[in-house]
């Protein structure tokens, strides 16, 4: 866990998660993988807001975007922790 500088006498504690993008989402984001810094107790929802801000082109995709946290289908209210791996991708189309 990394500590940010004091802001108004409060220590804001942050952590990093690893975000992976696949297929159309990867192309829209223009990146395959990145580290995203979040403040303590951030949820999947908070991460989604951050991703939308950084990569607005993802919002223009027609596909329903899905999410996995550490290889499991992610719940939006799940609290994230240091080192979590979050994957963002369109509906699967293998076979």
């Amino acid at each position: 866990m990394t500590r940010a500088p004091r802001i108004e006498n409060k220590v804001i504690s942050t952590f990093e998660v690893n975000v992976l993008y696949f297929a159309q989402v990867r192309e829209a984001a223009g990146i395959r993988e990145e580290k995203v810094m979040l403040v303590k107790d951030s949820t999947v929802n908070n991460l989604i807001s951050k991703i939308k801000e950084t990569h607005p082109r993802i919002l223009r995709l027609k596909e329903n975007i899905q999410l996995a946290v550490n290889c499991n289908s992610g719940d939006k209210n799940l609290t994230l922790k240091e080192g979590d791996q979050i994957a963002v991708f369109p509906p699967v189309a293998g076979g």
Binding site: A23, P91, V92, G94
Partner: protein, 151 residues
């Protein structure tokens, strides 16, 4: 009868050509009287027109994990002896095998049912995506099956 996990460490996602005889050998079992194998191949025509190939990508860790789970589900649901599931990634040409699902069982009924169930589940749950490449250099992602919305 107990399901054999002997080959459970095997790679389920590969960049190499899928060889049919190796798939058959992988599910060989002296107590099996039936083997059902499904091969998915790259088709020349789509609604985009003539296709020269397909590019597959996967979320490797999760794909392996999901495929492993599907293997254990079918081994609980049916009396089967062995299962081998392998999906290819990278650039494939028309006619190339993209996926193989092989199931051996004492009798054909279980082999067919388990094989069918597995391929349908893979298409809905395993994080793999494919992009069609057409003659003129045009590319298009193939629409996926799941419609859940998260973001």
């Amino acid at each position: 009868m107990e399901f054999k996990h002997k080959r459970n460490h095997a790679k389920r996602i590969t960049a190499s050509k899928i060889l049919p005889h190796k798939i058959l050998n992988a599910v060989n079992d002296e107590n099996a009287g039936a083997t059902a194998i499904f091969f998915g191949t790259v088709r020349e025509h789509s609604d985009m027109g003539k296709i020269i190939g397909m590019t597959y990508e996967s979320y490797l860790e999760m794909a392996e994990d999901r495929m492993k789970k599907i293997e254990s589900i079918i081994s609980r649901k049916w009396n089967i002896k062995r299962v081998k599931i392998i999906h290819r990634v990278g650039d494939l040409s028309v006619g190339d095998v993209s996926i193989a699902v092989a199931v051996s069982a004492p009798h054909r009924s279980e082999a067919f049912s388990a094989c069918r169930y597995a391929i349908e589940k893979i298409k809905r749950e395993v994080p793999i995506w494919k992009k069609e490449r057409s003659v003129g250099g045009k590319e298009r992602w193939v629409k996926g099956l799941d419609s859940r919305k998260y973001v």
